[in-house]
């Protein structure tokens, strides 16, 4: 699991109403949700995103509601990974269930600025800022999360269990 893309940096306590406002929750379609990703932060925010880009955030990213539409909207916008100081817990579970990779790096997140080119090697637990040369080592993923990602998310996990 390795990704390289432009970092789009957002602030602290970015809530799920900012990631995908409730008025867009009348669908479960990935593309449609992606078109309105971060519309609660700024209308048209998503226009800056190219497929493969990386979201970078401060503390408590994804706080608020349990809407799984939030990680889906980020994936739908073309971002496969979010790097943050920390994540809200429901969002954390949802993201792995949906196949969105999250990396929790604490204060080290300050080593990435908006617009930097970032390379993520999830297997090695290494983030490299290609713009500045700075590196961040991430703590290993919890075993339960690795198991989920290995199986391809919660849907295949349960399918295997029911079979």
């Amino acid at each position: 699991m390795s990704y390289t893309g432009t970092a789009h940096k957002v602030g602290e306590h970015i809530d799920t109403d900012a990631i995908i406002p409730a008025r867009f929750l009348v669908t479960t379609d990935t593309r449609k949700l992606g078109e309105n990703c971060m519309a609660g932060l700024e209308e048209g925010w998503v226009k800056r995103v190219k497929p493969g880009d990386v979201m970078v955030a401060g503390r408590n990213f994804g706080c608020g509601s349990s809407r799984e539409h939030a990680p889906i909207a980020i994936l739908g916008a073309g971002m496969p990974v979010v790097i943050a100081h920390s994540f809200a817990r429901i969002f954390y579970r949802n993201s792995f269930n949906m196949g969105l990779l999250l990396l929790e790096v604490g204060d080290e997140v300050d080593k990435i600025a908006d617009g930097d080119t970032v390379e993520v090697d999830a297997a090695k637990g290494l983030i490299t800022n290609r713009t500045t040369g700075a590196t961040i080592t991430c703590p290993p993923l919890p075993a339960s999360m690795r198991e989920l990602l290995d199986k391809g998310g919660l849907v295949p996990y349960v399918r295997e269990k029911l079979a």
């Binding site: 109403d17 009348v26 479960t28 509601s65 799984e68 809200a88 849907v155 996990y157 349960v158």
Partner: protein, 418 residues
């Protein structure tokens, strides 16, 4: 090992021995819940999992409360899809229309949740049932789909923060003020990944409904659950709803990661200012802030005791000109009781708009959306930017008494100042 409330409940639902916080355990669930926003996604995942039936048709609840009565074609499609799924699976507890209310007010009222239960819901305010002593937490739709199929899910055993409230509540200070004060103290991520456990003389004195108000907002501090011991009041509440529950309390000598104590004597009512629930100030400090809308209702404060509190302030008074005061009793049961007690008449005489049992404006869904530059005070639980409408609007959070007093004054006001 001496267990906290959270550990004790999880232990009763797993075959693995709970030894420490941080351990991951698989637990049997007592109830799995989803609403009209989250059920369609859960159903999509449920089908993709290859599941053919729900684990127990009496232990799945589907409550169509957010965008209902159906506000547009898209939301009507979502409800239709869920209704058809409920029929196909023979789900006992499907609620829509006249028997439907805001889920976290409705399920306790129906006796579907109680002490010692493990409840998972595809809604972050599922933690409300902690007020009855249930380990109840919000999960995403796919997690809930897994629970609907298997009847179990995994949890990381949380460390617990104990919040003790001592003293006697002053007039006009209630449950909402206590939870806002706690969130103001520890912040919106102060209990991230953790359980909150509430006790103390001021908590024992609270009604079960007040405890649910507090538990409801545990998530606003990042908490996984907000738990209360089940005492005589709890057991009387659930017995009146046809349940037979046993008392429940934490083990003496249980380990707490952090212990906080608050003396409520001499406390003033508080409000949470835009745009985070942690921006908490005594009402006196924001007195005079002008308002366009007041919302009284929601899973936080839409129960009968909240309606009584608001009506007590509104009785014989008028909502200020230019302010729309929207009252949404949270369930048909609350609505009927409010009607019987004359509270609806009080609201109408005061110039309020009384609406159906719906989440509606709390999440900017419908029935009271804010325009650019508009400002509301609400008894709801979130004041994130744009939560109730325009990105340029503002929401203040407060108790029913403060919201009602502010509706009368037309500006944020202390109920004692009218």
């Amino acid at each position: 090992m001496a267990h906290t409330l959270a550990q004790k409940i999880l232990q009763a639902h797993t075959d693995e021995a709970i030894m420490a916080a941080g351990q991951i355990v698989r637990c049997r669930v007592s109830l799995a819940l989803a609403n009209d926003i989250t059920a369609p996604l859960a159903i999509k995942s449920f089908r993709a999992m290859g599941a053919k039936k729900v684990f127990d048709r009496d232990k799945v609840a589907l409550v169509m409360d957010h965008f209902t009565p159906q506000k547009d074609i898209d939301s009507a499609q979502q409800v239709k899809l869920t209704r058809e799924f409920a029929r196909e699976m023979g789900v006992t507890h499907y609620y829509e229309g006249g028997d439907c209310g805001v889920e976290h007010a409705l399920l306790p009222e129906l006796g579907l949740v109680g002490p010692g239960d493990v409840v998972v819901g595809a809604d972050s305010h599922t933690c409300t049932y902690g007020g009855l002593g249930a380990f109840a937490t919000g999960l995403g739709s796919t997690d809930v789909a897994g629970a609907m199929a298997l009847g179990e899910t995994w949890f990381k055993v949380p460390p617990t923060i104990r919040a003790t409230f001592t003293g006697t509540l002053p007039r006009w200070v209630g449950a909402k003020d206590l939870i806002l004060r706690l969130i103001g103290e520890i912040g919106v991520d102060g209990a991230l990944y953790r359980a909150l456990e509430f006790d103390g003389a001021a908590i024992e004195a609270l009604s079960v409904e007040g405890r649910m108000t507090i538990a409801n907002m545990a998530i606003e501090a990042g908490g996984k659950v907000g738990l209360f011991a089940a005492d005589e009041k709890t057991l009387a509440y659930t017995a009146a709803r046809g349940r037979k529950d046993a008392p429940l309390s934490a083990d003496p000598g249980a380990t707490y990661e952090r212990e906080l104590t608050f003396d409520v004597s001499g406390m003033d009512p508080v409000v949470a200012c835009p745009h985070l629930p942690e921006n908490v100030k005594p009402v006196g400090e924001v007195r005079g802030v002008t308002l366009d809308q007041v919302v009284i209702g929601s899973c936080t404060n839409g129960r009968i005791s909240d309606m009584r509190e608001a009506a007590e302030v509104l009785k014989g008074r008028k909502v200020a000109k230019g302010v729309r005061c929207i009252v949404l009793p949270a369930t048909p049961g609350v609505w009927k009781e409010a009607l019987k007690e004359g509270l609806i008449e009080t609201f109408m005489e005061s110039g309020c708009i009384v609406g159906p049992a719906t989440c509606g404006p709390c999440l900017g869904g419908h029935m009271g959306i804010l325009a650019d530059g508009e400002r509301a005070i609400a008894t709801t639980n979130r004041n994130f930017r744009g939560r109730m409408g325009s990105l340029e609007s503002e929401v203040y959070l407060a108790s029913p008494a403060v919201a009602a007093a502010s509706a009368v004054a037309g500006v944020i006001a202390h109920p004692g100042s009218l």
